[in-house]
């Protein structure tokens, strides 16, 4: 079982926009390794005949009719926003993408 490398942790941290110190990278690499190792034990008992499971409940096709329900008021929607302008959520400068 290959271990989780420091590079992989740093990459994930970047994707998740988390700033990690060097010692935290080591710390999480070890922890993630332990967690994945523990979960991987499932594959020891789950053979071809056991399909991968993402949902614990045997439910499918839970749907709603296409009927409009009341929305929040803009005041409610924006009540948790750190900043707002023109009834819109205000966010800092976005760089690098369009």
């Amino acid at each position: 079982m290959p271990g989780i490398t420091r590079e992989e942790v740093a990459h994930l941290a970047r994707l998740a926009r988390l700033e990690l110190k060097d010692e935290e990278v080591d710390h999480f690499a070890t922890q993630l390794d332990d967690i994945i190792g523990a979960v991987a034990r499932v594959s020891e008992v789950a053979d071809q005949d056991v399909p991968p499971t993402s949902h614990p409940l045997p439910l499918t096709n839970v749907m709603r009719a296409d009927e409009v329900r009341p929305s929040l008021t803009p005041e409610q929607a924006l009540s948790g926003a750190p900043a707002q302008e023109q009834q819109r959520f205000k966010v800092p400068q976005i760089l690098g993408e369009d």
């Binding site: 439910l59 296409d66 819109r88 959520f89 205000k90 800092p92 976005i94 993408e97």
Partner: protein, 504 residues
């Protein structure tokens, strides 16, 4: 844009390389509510008035799938000759960008609801090209950003951005083709024809109005080149949000020329997204494409799998409307027109207008004649599309009716159409105002005929002597005298009658 890009001529590019395309089209469904919550999708609402804890991604909110959204996806899949999954899940596509308040987009990843289909598209010369469909999957739209502080409202140089989440969560179907190979120098035309056919299909299905100018249908164009005769695909670029049929064609053409210039110059193509510029048809570099695994897709735990029963799928299949290609072929047969004439009707964008005119009561040949003749000429002269002319199918049908009833002849009908287009009112108003009725008053017509006979005695004698063909000259004289407002056939009858000659 001050960046200059080297291009080689399109012909030179195609002499060396073969284009390979992949088209991704996003269609906003016309459901009343969003994909995972009951917020309205009505356009034009005040900012952030159509949001709720689900589409704002608040903790503890539970999304529930819109049944009509799923049904629309199945309809689209079936119309594209796809397999419909017996069981499929949603997935979270994780990325940080303020247009998605959840920090992920709910989409489908390895289990699309529809897959392995095709769409036959007809090119302008009538050739049919089959575009293979990889998949059609369900996902949701993002919010709308406004960039503030930049010079042109663009993201570059903006001090901050403002977000309206009314659009976040509106159902989208993403339709992805398999690599389109073999189109050769017709690649731009194939791309355009595919998007046009897809748009017609979506509209026929009634699942979306698919108005590209409103962003209800958007196309991403993937393009790569490979040296002619080789197998391996080249590196592709992805030109995002190409939002008109003409732009799709131009974007493909431009990218062919740009790729060729890079490759001929010994360079390598960077896999990246590019932006299309409507003004000059160019593209510029966007961002370097993230690898798929960077999105860290995983099954959406808050939504249970969708398992369309075979019975339901068959029920939907049975309820599919007549699809555009089938309808076109049927109409062609019904009208008895040649394939090339039908293609001309399609190229002119006249099909639906003609059908609507027939539905409004006009005979088929009349409806075709006016739209493809006089009205096409007006559209060409004013540089507008046929459906943008200031005349409705019902008004054209009325003109045709007035011609059939003998109230107008073709010449007068053209004047009526001119009046309608010029904003003078509906056909009856124009007829009234301009005094354009055919002179059917037998007395007045008889007088005009008598006068024509009297002043053309020599011709009249010829006719009396049996040269019936000479009557044309007298008909012309009467038409002139009545300023074209007479029924030429009736005039001819009267002339022959008065001269005591039969049609022989």
């Amino acid at each position: 844009m001050t960046v200059t890009t080297d291009l080689v001529s399109y012909e030179d590019a195609l002499a060396t390389f073969e284009p390979v395309m992949g088209l991704e089209v996003h269609v906003e469904l016309g459901t009343k509510t969003k994909m995972f919550c009951g917020c309205s999708t009505e356009l034009g609402a005040e900012p952030n008035t159509q949001t709720c804890p689900v589409c704002l991604g608040m903790p503890g909110a539970l999304p529930v799938v819109n049944a009509t959204g799923v049904e629309s996806a199945v309809r689209i899949g079936l119309a594209l000759n796809c397999e419909i999954a017996e069981w499929c899940r949603f997935a979270r596509k994780n990325y940080f960008y303020p247009d998605m308040p959840k920090n992920f987009q709910t989409s489908q990843y390895d289990e699309p609801i529809a897959f392995d289909g095709y769409l036959d598209v007809q090119l302008e010369d009538g050739e049919v090209f089959r575009v293979e469909i990889e998949r059609a999957h369900m996902e949701e739209d993002t919010g709308k950003s406004t960039h503030v502080g930049g010079a042109t409202g663009r993201i570059h140089g903006a001090s901050h951005s403002l977000l309206d989440y009314n659009r976040a969560g509106i159902p989208l179907i993403e339709i992805v083709t398999k690599p389109i190979v073999g189109a050769g120098d017709r690649a731009p035309e194939v791309a355009k024809a595919y998007v046009a056919e897809l748009r017609a299909l979506i509209r026929a299905l009634g699942v979306s109005e698919a108005r590209m100018e409103m962003g209800q249908m958007r196309c991403d164009v993937n393009l790569s080149l490979r040296p002619i005769g080789t197998e391996k695909f080249g590196t592709r670029s992805e030109t995002k949000n190409v939002n008109s049929l003409r732009s799709v064609e131009r974007a493909v053409r431009y990218e062919v020329q740009r790729h060729a210039a890079v490759l001929v110059g010994g360079g390598t193509i960077v896999q990246e997204t590019r932006h299309f510029h409507e003004e000059d048809g160019s593209t510029t570099s966007g961002r370097v494409k993230e690898e798929a695994e960077d999105y860290r897709y995983f099954p959406e735990p808050d939504l249970v799998p969708v398992a369309p029963s075979r019975a339901w799928v068959e029920e939907i299949r049975a309820g599919l409307p007549e699809l555009p290609r089938v309808r076109r072929n049927r109409l062609r047969e019904e009208w008895g027109v040649a394939a090339l004439d039908m293609q001309a009707i399609l190229n002119a964008g006249a099909l639906d207008l003609i059908v609507a005119t027939i539905d409004a009561g006009a005979p088929a040949d009349q409806a075709r004649k006016w739209w493809m003749g006089e009205l096409s000429r007006h559209a060409n002269e004013s540089g507008t599309a046929l459906d943008e002319l200031a005349i409705t199918p019902a008004q054209v049908a009325r003109v045709a009716e007035l011609v059939s009833s003998g109230d107008l002849n073709d010449k007068l009908a053209r004047q009526v159409i001119e009046g309608v287009l010029g904003g003078e009112g509906d056909p009856d108003t124009v007829v009234e105002k301009r005094g354009l009725k055919v002179v059917s008053d037998e007395g007045a017509l008889g007088a005009a005929v008598d006068e024509a006979i009297a002043s053309n005695a020599a011709i009249a004698d010829k006719i009396r002597g049996g040269k019936v063909a000479a009557a044309g000259a007298l008909v012309g004289a009467v038409m002139k005298a009545t300023r074209g407002q007479a029924d030429a056939a009736r005039v001819r009858e009267l002339i022959l009658e008065k001269l005591g000659v039969g049609e022989g």
